[in-house]
Every structure is written in structure tokens, then in C-alpha cells.
Symmetry: C2
Subunit: 396 residues, 2 copies
């Protein structure tokens, strides 16, 4: 990975706190570890940051690849610390603690800061062996990751291009479907289901080098639950929310985009909600700039939605209809990362990549959500999304 990682805030923290190192013990799902080590692996591995370098501890299976691909200054193998013997003697739990303690000792480390999600089993095991383990509560690595380098922006743009190809394929399927006598969309002689559209989205993404775990293609009442993935036949005269958040399989960088479509006439109230959501999205975008808080951007979206007579979590923290989520979130090696564009969102900075995605939900009407991915600049933002906003689906 060619990320030019600036770990100085982390090293400053270690110096201030009088700690020898920062230790991560996780697997491929940990974006911080991937960022710091320039490496990812399906099984757990350990990354140690000291003042003089980044040091990996991996299984023999990963050793060759870690030595070739990682950005670490040194790579050690579990076998060098008699891992198998220690596990056989002391069990997986204590065996691992012993290996890690020896690895830390090799690097002159007696005290470590660890991330909040560091395994309690490992922390308590190291503490039992006399090491000092302190949680780093601020999420320093997450903060560093929030500001993207030019190289990272290129990766996110590439993922977003794949996202647009997938959205275009989904929109085309909806635009060109027939409508049967029951109002069900039909394509190639069969009902066009959420599942079929999802499959076409995912195949398109795979052809562009991206994968994903989940896609949302949610019609009618399904779309009123923002995390419902949707199922069953898509129908005319209903709102259809499509939210795609692919990840490049090679680089690991995500993109995120949502569009809402309707074939036929979803009704006056649905069209009004679409128009209000679009205005909220525009108001949020117009507010974005370095130095503005994520909370202020969220407020701008809430203002529009509340003025139009809908609830938000700001006007009623317990509402289950209206605008029932945050305006956005950071996107990078995690699909949800810093900064937050929510009531708790702090200052935005140039280089932050965030989603802007207001929506209005009600099971009786369906869901509307419009989402672009943008990068914050000194005076505003650059939109990383190149995709038309519009309720009526069209085929290219």
C-alpha cells in the first residue's frame, strides 16, 4: 500500500503518556491496522508502533506476503516465539499472551497504548505478565485516517466509478422493466425483484474489481427502514431506495452512494418528500467547508426537513418516522469512519471524505434518501459523485 502514513500524532501521544509503544491485535476487518501496517490478512496478526518503527507479528502462512507487501519496518513470525509449543503447553489464551510479551520485550517495550477495540483477553493477559496496557481513548489513528492523501482520494474515486456503473445498471433495469397487471415490475418475463437487481449490481461491481457485503434495493415499506436490504418484487408507483457501498478488493477503499427511484406515479406526498430531501441534501452540501462542524452540516439538513413539517431526531429523539439518522459519515478503509456528520460531529478539515445523505422515512409512504460522496476543501467541497439526481429512472 502506498499510503503515506503520518503516525506523528500517535508517537506524540506515546511520548506525552510515557508509553513505549502502540499495539494492535486484530484481523482483516480492522482498518486502523491495515492503515498502519500496509498489510491485511484473514487471520489475526499484531502491529506494534514504536518511536523507531512499525513491527509486525504474523503466522508463518502470512510471513512471505507480509515481508513483500507490508509497509512495516520489521516482520516476525509466531514460530520464532515457539507459538505452537506454548499453545500446546498453556492453551491458546495464555500461549498467545506469552508470545506477545516476548515480542514486546524484543522491541524494548514495557508499556503500550492500545485502541479501544483491543481484545480484553490480550490486554488482561499482558497485564498479568506485568506489562502496562492503557486504552488510547481518542481514536488517534482513526483521526489520522480521516484526512485522506491524494493517493487515497484516487482509490476512493476509482471505487466510486465502479459504484456509478453499478447504479446505472440498476437504474436501467428499473427504467426498462415492464409493469404487469398487478403493478409489479417485470424483466425478461419474470418479476424484477430486489434480489435480482442486487445480483446485477454486485456482478457489475465484481467486473470492476469491487466487492461488497450488503446492498440495499428496498421498495415501498421496506425502504422506510433505512437498513432493510429489501426483498421481493419491485413495484410501480412505489419509492425504491438503492444504496450501494462497494469496496475495492485490492486497495480496500470504499465508496457510498444512494439514489431513490419510482416507476409510474408514487403519489404527491412521495414526490414532495423527494423534493424536500433534495433541498436538505443541497443545504447540507452548501454548508460544508473546512472549519465548519459536522453538527452544523447536520443542522442544515434538519432545518429544511423540519421546516417542511417532518420530524427529525433533533425535533423528537424517539421518532420512528421522518429523518431518523445522521446526515453523513466519513468513508475510507471503513464504510463508517471519522468524521461524523451528526449532532456530535466536530470540525471538518480539508481532505475529509464524507457522505451527505439525508432522507425521510415512513412505512405508509416509503423511504427517500439521496446520498453523494464528497471531499471537504478549504472553502467548500469537491463532489466525488458523478451521478444525476432524479426520481424518474432513465436508461442510458
Amino acid at each position: 500500500m502506498d499510503v503515506d502514513v503520518d503516525l506523528s500524532p500517535l508517537r506524540d501521544h506515546l511520548e506525552t503518556e510515557g508509553l513505549d509503544g502502540y499495539l494492535i491485535d486484530d484481523d482483516a476487518s480492522d482498518a486502523d491496522q491495515r492503515y498502519v501496517s500496509g498489510f491485511t490478512a484473514p487471520d489475526p496478526y499484531q502491529t506494534l508502533v514504536t518511536q523507531d518503527g512499525v513491527h509486525l507479528l504474523v503466522s508463518g502462512l502470512e510471513y512471505g506476503r507480509a515481508s513483500k507487501e507490508s509497509s512495516a519496518d520489521s516482520v516476525s513470525r509466531l514460530a520464532a516465539y515457539d507459538y505452537q509449543t506454548l499453545v500446546a503447553e498453556h492453551g491458546a489464551y495464555e500461549g498467545k499472551s506469552r508470545v506477545l510479551a516476548a515480542f514486546l520485550e524484543d522491541h524494548g517495550v514495557d508499556s503500550v497504548a492500545v485502541p479501544r477495540n483491543f481484545p480484553t483477553g490480550t490486554a488482561d493477559g499482558l497485564r498479568e505478565r506485568g506489562l502496562e496496557v492503557t486504552v488510547e481513548p481518542e481514536g488517534i489513528v482513526e483521526d489520522v485516517r480521516a484526512t485522506k492523501t491524494e493517493w487515497e482520494l484516487e482509490q476512493i474515486r476509482a471505487t466510486q466509478r465502479a459504484n456509478e456503473a453499478a447504479m446505472a445498471r440498476a437504474e436501467e433495469l428499473i427504467a426498462t422493466a415492464d409493469v404487469d397487471g398487478d403493478g409489479v415490475l417485470v424483466s425478461d418475463g419474470e418479476a424484477l425483484t430486489s434480489e435480482r437487481v442486487t445480483e446485477e449490481i454486485e456482478v457489475t461491481l465484481l467486473r470492476h474489481g469491487c466487492g461488497l457485503d450488503d446492498t440495499i434495493v428496498a421498495c415501498g415499506a421496506d425502504g422506510a427502514d433505512p437498513h432493510d436490504r429489501g426483498s421481493g418484487p419491485l413495484e410501480a408507483d412505489e419509492l425504491i431506495v438503492i444504496d450501494i457501498f462497494p469496496r475495492d478488493k485490492e486497495t480496500g477503499y470504499f465508496a457510498d452512494m444512494t439514489r431513490t427511484f419510482a416507476r409510474g406515479d408514487p403519489g404527491e406526498e412521495a414526490r414532495r418528500r423527494y423534493e424536500v430531501t433534495e433541498r436538505a441534501y443541497e443545504a447540507a452540501l452548501e454548508t460544508v467547508a473546512a472549519g465548519v462542524t459536522g453538527a452544523a452540516v447536520h443542522d442544515a439538513a434538519c432545518d429544511v426537513i423540519e421546516d417542511a413539517g417532518y420530524e427529525t431526531l433533533r425535533s423528537d429523539p424517539n421518532t420512528e418516522t421522518g429523518f431518523i439518522h445522521s446526515t453523513g459519515h466519513g468513508v475510507g478503509l471503513d464504510i463508517h469512519e471519522e468524521p461524523s456528520v451528526s449532532p456530535s460531529g466536530g470540525d471538518l478539515a480539508a481532505g475529509h471524505v464524507i457522505s451527505i445523505e439525508p432522507g425521510i422515512y415512513d412505512p405508509a409512504v416509503g423511504g427517500v434518501r439521496i446520498e453523494d460522496l464528497i471531499v471537504v476543501t478549504e472553502n467548500g467541497y469537491e463532489n466525488l459523485t458523478d451521478y444525476r439526481v432524479g426520481l424518474e429512472p432513465t436508461a442510458e
Copy 2:
């Protein structure tokens, strides 16, 4: 999820230790949490097991789906504990601790066991608020998960059928490719690369409802590093290792299978290694039965490979060639789970699903690995894999 989860070993542990509950704080990547709660979500959520039920704590975004889909006895929303207000007042770290402490209090819980991978930040935060947090070192939930119910076996079989379709597509591409003057495999007028075969495997899996993060299609020296995913043109007269481990997108259950192919003549030494690997695979399979240890099954594979004159990690813990990994691992909601078929592997039990996958590696020759997925029975095993073993690729 219809898993008939037997949490009695966990509840027995709580009673023995005098603890009120078992708490998981993780996201979709945590198979234990998915198993216990019958629920999965992209963002972190919490699962509490007490003597009288399973209780979820989720964000408002997940509340609707969790109430509908999870197997929990109760579902609570973060908003019910003023999450946003507490985070705004105390920061994300302490805000979350306060919410969790209140959630535990609501369920009458003063002391919890937690899994080894429980976040240290959460553990220390709860401890600061006076709760007792003890790591459960044995992996009781993982142990429960190791023995599959009939329903779970059906899900794994379904994933394995998708795996076989994908392997057949890969084998067909290799079998039907032309060979150009440089010995490169050519299909549709272009070099048949690892990347192209991987893409066809993954599209086939998607069409069968499965996804995956990684696939291995590794030719020549690439295949000698068991975790190298492979890249570039596939060549005739070289060993090609194909390892596919898909996951059903709906149920979350994995399958795992490896075959090694060669177009043309990979040479006498490569053919010998294939033959030895096949014998090691057969010896390991013949050893499997309930009550036999994973270590004994691993030894059976090592015996064959060492007798044939190759190193194993048993004969030389530092070897980088020969048989340089374990014979197998459990497969279920995680691709690597209990039980282990390695030097530390304990008793196998009926219902354990394991891979049997010996291999022999050397950069000078390439890699050979043969892997089936099986379920342990009282007197032996049932092979969940329906795919021919053979070095020469054939098209259906």
C-alpha cells in the same frame, strides 16, 4: 436464523463463576455474536446473555430489523439510554460506557463474562463504572458453534454446492484454454490470468448467492506461498492451486475447497508431490472419527509427507518448504473456527465440520494442496465435497 442454539454451557459457566451475564460488543464480523443473537449488522451492537434470555442493544437504524429478524428475547435502542446526549456530553468513549452500564443495570447485571476479543475500551470503561468484567478464556461459544445442527449442515452444504459450481467454471477455463508459444494459457484471444479466473469464480458464486473476500488462483511459485492469492498469466506445465472459500450472503455459512491443476506436463517431481499430497489427504480422512484428536489426524498427514522425504512443521518447525501449515480447521460462520486439525487439536466430535487440506510447497516446484470439507461422524466422516480429485483439468 433458525439455528437451535444451545447456550447451556455458557449459562453453566456463568453460574459456576457467579457472574450475572455474558456480554458481546462487536459488529457483523463477529460470528459468536451472530450465532448467539441470530442477528448481524454492519455497525457495532451489543448482545447480553443472562440466565433468563438474550438481550440486544442496537442503534435506531437497526431496531426495526433486529426486532423482526433476531432470535433475541428483547431488543433495546441506544436512544432509550440517551446515547446521543451522553456522547455529546462525555465523548464517544465514556458515553458508550454509560449507556452500556445503564443497559446492564436494567437487566439486573452487575458482573459479566466477556469473550477474549471483547473491546478493552468497553471493558475498562465498565470497570471504571464499578462493574465486574472477567474474560471467559475457554471460548465456550466457539466450542458450542463447532458442533453443527442439522440446519447448519444444510446451510454449509448449500454453500459447498456453490463452491463446486465455481470450481467447475475455473477448471473448465483452464482445461479449454489454448497454449501460446510462450507457454501462456490463452482464452478468448487474451492471456488467461489469475485475475480473470478469480473474477469468473466470484461471478459464479454471486449467481449462487455467495460472496467472498479472497480467492486463491496461484500458479507456479505464487502457489508455493499458501496465502498468496496469485496474479498474472497462468502457464502450462506449472502447478495451479485454486482455493475457494465462499460465504452464503444470507445465512453467513462458509464452505472451503482446494484443487490443484496443471495443463501439460508439470514434471515428474510435481506429479510425485501431487501423489504424496493425495495420499496424505486420504490418510488424514481415514483417521477422522469422533473421539480422535485433531492432532492425530494432522499426524497421519505428516507421516505420509515425511515418509516421502519432505519436511513438515513437525519435522522442522522453521521449514519454509514442504508441509507448512495445519491439516485443517473448523468451518462454519467463520472460515477458520474450532476445532483445529493441528498439533494442538483436541478431540473431534460428531457434527464438527472440518477441512482436510494437506499440501507440499516449494518455490522451485510450486504448490500442491488438496482440500475437502467434511463432517465428523461417530465412526468416521461424511464428505460434504462432491468434486473429483485429479491433477489434469477437464471440461464437463
